[in-house]
């Protein structure tokens, strides 16, 4: 009887213990930066394999490669081996872009493709809050616009001046993960081709571009 019941109590203990570990980890994951990372991980895994292609495939430098780093070239060992470009506008693969102001801040806005199709009331973050790379920068209706940079929001606007957020990046912030120069044109061509399959449905296009 002892062996029989002992075996089941062991099983129950393993199950309960594992759930407790999950609960503790879940609580530790409650930090906004961690939640943003998990949301991005989930969104990225939802992409079709063709849409996960490496930026260097878009420019024709390599034939085929699926990004294993969730588009974060800062931790990619391959990225430094390929051509590096310059550009004043830096594009996130979620169609937000960042422009350096020269005063220690970035203006964050949408690229032309996204601006043409995204509608809905804006929900901007509060000034003083922090946004994270791949986390929610702001919302347009029920769509999340992903942030290209990590840093403190120092100003917000409605986009009429060409920007939505002004963000002071965190110390040592690197922008290697953002597209620039000739990469942008190649990528936008690729995205335009994806959108063209949607029969001019702006809502579907917006969802496609923002990976919603």
């Amino acid at each position: 009887m002892l062996i029989f019941l002992g075996a089941f109590f062991c099983v129950a203990a393993v199950v309960a213990g594992t759930l407790a570990v999950v609960a503790v980890r879940g609580i530790l994951d409650g930090a906004p930066e961690r939640i943003a990372a998990i949301q991005w991980h989930s969104d990225f895994s939802d992409l079709l394999s063709a849409d996960r292609c490496c930026r260097h495939v878009l420019t024709g430098e390599i034939d085929t490669r699926e990004c294993p780093n969730e588009f974060d070239c800062r931790r990619c060992s391959e990225h430094p081996r390929h051509a590096q470009y310059n550009g004043d506008r830096l594009y996130h693969r979620g169609h937000a872009c960042a422009q350096w102001n020269g005063d220690g801040s970035y203006n964050v806005t949408l690229d032309d493709a996204a601006r043409g199709v995204i509608r809905g009331p804006l929900q901007l973050p509060e000034v003083g809050s922090v946004v994270f790379v791949n986390g929610t920068a702001w919302k347009a209706g029920d769509l999340r616009v992903l942030s290209p940079v990590t840093g403190e929001v120092i100003a917000t606007a409605d986009g009429s001046d060409g920007w939505y957020l002004r963000v002071r990046p965190e110390t040592g912030f690197r922008t290697d993960h953002l597209l620039r120069g000739p990469e942008v044109e190649a990528w936008e061509r690729y995205e335009a081709e994806r959108v063209s399959r949607l029969n001019e449905d702006p809502d579907a296009a917006a969802r496609l571009l923002l990976n919603a």
């Binding site: 019941l5 089941f8 099983v11 393993v14 998990i38 991980h41 079709l48």
Partner: protein, 414 residues
């Protein structure tokens, strides 16, 4: 308007039929479920005299259903074991559907068992006053624990729903739960091996029923091992069958052809092994076990309905034939062969459980005994059909709103 709201719950990039059409698909199953729930209510309210079971046929349609769905649901633990512990990555394509199928099978089995046993308010007695000498106690403990494990495995899938994963706390929970899935896969395999075995074992230890009694290794009769092997052989076949059926009904490609090939090969190897051991076991029973009890094995096959054809069908038609098809690469790569072979494997397991449940009890064991027959009452049949309807409903809703087949989107885009 309804359609628009409904679309927000459908996984991104997947196409599903319009909501009214979906409702019209669900309606007959809901009606069947309602009928079955009424039948089950009558059994619980007025007792087992609503059924055609009696002192001789203490096991009937419901136990046959339990044994069959538990065997068919083995695909959940077996594919989880192969994916998370043996790292057979190709099974990722069907692991979600395996979990849903497993959950449907086990929850359905437990519900029908509660109707069969009766007094559901005293269900906890099983755990508080366990008869540790009974294999059924082990089975009850195992399937209850395993249902809890299946529920835990189903939760991350539920949280992958497009709307639910917008809730950060659910997303984080799903993410963390997913990381520990190998632990649950291991626990599930441990529990499943024991209860699948014990379900077979409880027939093998019936000394008073020489048709079922088997000798074995230590305390475990051979039926213990045969039940495990037949369940893990039928599990992949049933998954292939479910996937193919859903493909037909939804007019979509859900998995690549090589996934069917993998399932077919797994099933083929295991059915081959099972049927070889079953043949050896049957020969030992015919020549040794049964005569030792004073019965010629042939005497069990002289009764109406249960002729020797049933043994031949079980071994040849539902065993050797599908094993040969599934073990032949050219045939199993062709769905016109592979799917019927999978159906034969599933039918074989169902027939095996039917024979052990019904023929065992129908066959006379004493000189003054007569061959008894049993036909389930409408209440038993209704409760049985309720489980089928419940399975179809839960699977249909899961298929519509959850990403059951990770390859579906890629396949539809291509």
């Amino acid at each position: 308007m309804h359609n628009r709201a409904d679309e927000q719950w459908i996984p991104r990039g997947l196409k599903r039929c319009a909501f009214p059409k979906f409702l019209s698909w669900l309606s007959p199953w809901m009606a069947l479920l309602a009928f079955g729930v009424y039948a089950a209510y009558r059994c619980l309210r007025y007792g087992l005299n609503e059924t055609n079971m009696d002192n001789r046929f203490a096991f009937g349609l419901w136990i046959f259903l339990d044994l069959t769905v538990i065997a068919l649901g083995a695909g959940a633990f077996f594919s989880g074991f192969l994916l998370y512990l043996i790292k057979r990555k190709e099974l990722r394509a069907i692991i979600n559907t395996a979990v849903v199928v497993g959950f449907v099978c086990y929850s359905g089995a437990i519900v029908i068992l509660m109707v069969d046993v009766g007094q559901p308010l005293r269900a906890w007695y099983t755990f508080w006053y366990p008869n540790v000498h009974s294999m059924l106690t082990e089975v009850t403990f195992c399937i209850t624990c395993y249902l809890a494990v299946l529920l835990i495995e189903y939760l991350p899938l539920l949280m992958k729903n497009r709307r639910l994963k917008q809730v950060p706390s659910l997303l984080v929970f799903e993410h963390e739960l997913h990381k520990v899935m190998p632990v649950f896969a291991a626990v599930g395999a441990f529990l499943s091996l024991f209860h699948q075995g014990s379900l077979g074992g409880l027939y093998g230890v019936l000394r008073g029923r020489p048709f079922a009694f088997r000798e074995g290794l230590g305390i475990w009769p051979t039926t213990f091992f045969l039940f495990i092997l037949s369940a893990i052989a039928a599990g992949p076949s049933f998954l292939a069958l479910v996937t193919w059926t859903v493909e037909r009904i939804s007019h979509k490609r859900l998995v690549t052809r090589d996934v069917y090939g993998t399932l077919g090969k797994l099933s083929g190897v295991l059915v081959g092994a099972y049927i070889s051991l079953k043949c050896i076991d049957t020969l030992i029973w015919i020549n040794n076990t049964s005569p030792k009890f004073g019965f010629s094995a042939h005497s069990f096959y002289t009764n109406q309905l249960f002729g020797t054809w049933i043994l031949i069908a079980e071994i040849v038609l539902f065993g050797l034939l599908p094993a040969l098809i599934l073990l032949t690469p050219k045939l199993r790569s062709d769905l016109r062969w592979m799917i019927p072979a999978s159906a034969l494997v599933c039918c074989g397991v169902a027939l095996n459980r039917f024979v052990l449940t019904i023929q065992t009890l129908a066959s006379p064991t004493l000189p003054f005994d007569e061959f008894m027959t049993y036909l389930p009452s409408w209440q038993e049949t209704g409760a049985f059909l309720a489980v089928v309807a419940y399975g179809v409903l839960l699977y249909s809703v899961s298929f519509r709103y959850l990403p059951l087949f990770p390859q579906e989107r890629e396949l539809s885009e291509s």
